[in-house]
Subunit: 415 residues, 2 copies
């Protein structure tokens, strides 16, 4: 049966690519297929040029078993992380190792034509200088708004004028002649976390919450991203919160989490503290730079400014309240905080933990781990975009196409 | 490999038990194993007395294919649904058909000794009068509070004094010498819905919300219950809501959903409307019966009482607000409302839908179906308890034990 054969192939390939140096005896344990089947699949994957030997393991009596690894130099993948004011493009090998990355200031509100043209130009530069003759196998893209994952289309993104329904996938696929997957940036940050932090990967049920200018969550279930019926799962920036009051959010609704606890609210409140003189440190920053950024509040708190500390505490109490609801509802093993908030973790983590432990169901918090992300903020989105591309291009369905096409070039067929 | 063999067996058995009258050619399609493997598994299951022939399908040229079915009369399963003021015990065959059920008024606050003694007495009665010589294969139990599914222990249930950590599973397993699984009652209502409503079963991601005296949710993902890290997923009765104010909940916290939108709040507000004369119909009910039950508010609304209608609308606005948050977060295909609220659906469904469509992310509500449960309220818990027992006793792990024990009695080994 072809589907079983392909599944066996995909399973063996997946085990080799995620456990570099694995041997055939260990593959038998991991994949749960028989020895002869595994040997056959390994031979097929070697013949297709997808995997190769990587030296020998010490013998445990008989013949020393051969270590295997992905031929990660067969091609490259592109990761494109579009944030609200920044674009990061990374080029990685097939094992997910970032070979080079470039950053550009953008404004996502300039619309898809301008932003994607910049991304394409940066990608061209990276390919020309780093990829050599290695073809682009796949592209992963993260956007700061809701994306229908199946089609790769942004759908009614509240802060991205011009992006609604824009064919991001079609444009980049035609430009680079490679399959493209598009996802919400928070999902990709969570994926980056999973692939970079063994403890996060080991947790069955993970909730990743990115708090910065935007607030969003990603849901990981049994080690895999859960995207929901339409791909919008985790979109919590605009839920109504008890302390939301009548503040009008940029989405048009009242009392949204983001309007009360997002980075813009933090900056606005920080500016008030500066202007009223309640925060001497923030007043100094405002006098010097003419503006207050969210990060300035953290800087002031670090310098011992009491008003700035109280503001951070209030913001984390608001965020913690919504997270307590989600912890009660979803009952994760691990809650990871990412985004701009990580820079303020010394001032916010204890408050967030305290609110969640007080407000969520005791059974849901019993062994719950709450931590800040360990992936550097500027890398997490692009790392996730690269891993999205790799996970999808090596998924059983894609692999099936690849092998059916019998491509001898070491390159999968364009989606 | 034994695990593959058992998985094949379990898959074939599962297909036969969930598709009565299935033939071997159709099993091949459904299970995704080869013809000869399926034929072998069918023979093994017949030899073990688990399945049997069920007549012949019309021939499509060759030999007419034999229909297969579970030998559902080999044994019985017990379903025990413990609600706050009511206990339902049902006895079902191995296909989940309820053979008989009995209902008793209880008070869950009387503690596990009294409540379970009542359940045992009722079960004894049912077994003596209905089971004949069929052994009890398994027992499913639903409790109105958080349950750690792995151990079957209630954990710090807010409204069940004396139940915290009580060994429900151990007690019933010893008493009936059968394996026991215990779960939150809302999870079981959702399971009952899934097994009774083909449209619900076909939805990949379902959110089932029970609103009555208690408010809780169950999460269905890819057709299976998601219970979370500890088994408490869906426990939303005590999340803080924007309109919760400073009302003290019976759980000890402030501003909980249940304290504002649960059945007790509805009855309390209804009583106020009666006492102040704002609701003539409720005033009449209070004068006659001396009390106002949640359902009385629905009755008054049905008689055209404007204050009662406004109260129901306010309650459904509060509930809808929390559901909008969960819809944004979880992005289900289908949201099913169950519990006491179903009796008021003519008055609440439109408001709940309106709040969710207005407040949740557009992408999350685009094809969302929101409906009231189609399973009669008094049956949904016990139906779910029966199906929990069946799903678990026929799961690959249990089946493995069963076959290893080589039990000739048609009875699985006690857990």
């Amino acid at each position: 049966m072809p589907s079983e054969r392909i599944n066996g192939l995909a399973a063996v390939l997946d085990a080799v690519r995620t456990h570099r140096g694995v041997t055939q005896p260990r593959l038998v344990e991991q994949v749960g297929l028989g020895r002869s089947v595994v040997a056959q699949r390994v031979a097929e994957l070697e013949a297709a040029g997808l995997i190769e030997g990587d030296g020998l393991d010490p013998s445990s009596g008989g013949r020393a078993p051969r270590r295997l690894r992905l031929r990660s130099g067969n091609g490259v993948v592109l990761g494109v992380d579009v944030a609200v004011t920044e674009l990061v493009v990374g080029l990685a090998d097939l094992a997910g190792g970032i070979l080079a990355k470039r950053q550009r200031h953008i404004d996502v509100a300039d619309g898809p034509e301008r932003v994607l043209a910049t991304a394409e130009a940066v990608a061209d530069e990276l390919i020309a200088t780093v990829a050599g003759d290695r073809p682009v196998w796949a592209i992963g893209v993260g956007l700061p708004g809701p994306v229908e994952f199946r089609t790769g289309l942004p759908v009614a993104p509240p802060i991205m004028p011009g992006w609604d329904g824009y064919p991001v996938r079609g444009r980049l696929a035609a430009r680079f002649r490679a399959p493209v997957w598009v996802d919400n940036d928070v999902n990709l940050m969570a994926l980056g976390e999973l692939r970079s932090d063994p403890a996060a990967a080991a947790a069955g049920h993970l909730l990743y919450v990115r708090a910065g200018i935007g607030i969003g969550a990603a849901i990981v279930m049994d080690g895999r991203l859960y995207r929901g019926a339409k791909g919008s799962a985790g979109d919590i920036g605009h839920v109504a919160i008890p302390e939301g009051g009548d503040a009008v959010c940029r989405c048009g609704n009242l009392g949204c989490l983001e309007a009360a606890a997002g980075g813009l609210a933090l900056a606005r409140e920080g500016r008030l503290l500066a202007e009223t003189g309640l925060s001497p440190v923030l007043a100094g920053i405002l006098a010097e730079s003419g503006t207050i950024l969210p990060f300035d509040v953290t800087t002031a708190a670090e310098k011992g400014d009491r008003a700035a500390r109280a503001l951070l505490q209030r913001t984390s109490t608001l965020l913690g309240g919504t997270l307590a609801t989600l912890v009660s509802f979803y009952n994760p093993d691990v809650l990871i905080l990412g985004g701009g908030i990580v820079r303020a973790k010394a001032h916010v983590l204890a408050t967030i933990r305290e609110v969640i432990y007080r407000r969520a169901l005791p059974l849901a918090t019993r062994d719950l781990r709450i931590d800040a992300s360990s992936v550097p903020e500027e890398l997490s989105g692009v790392t996730g975009a690269v891993h999205l591309a790799l996970d999808e291009v090596f998924a059983p369905g894609s692999l099936e196409d690849w092998l059916a096409a019998g491509s001898p070039s070491g390159r999968p067929p364009a989606a």
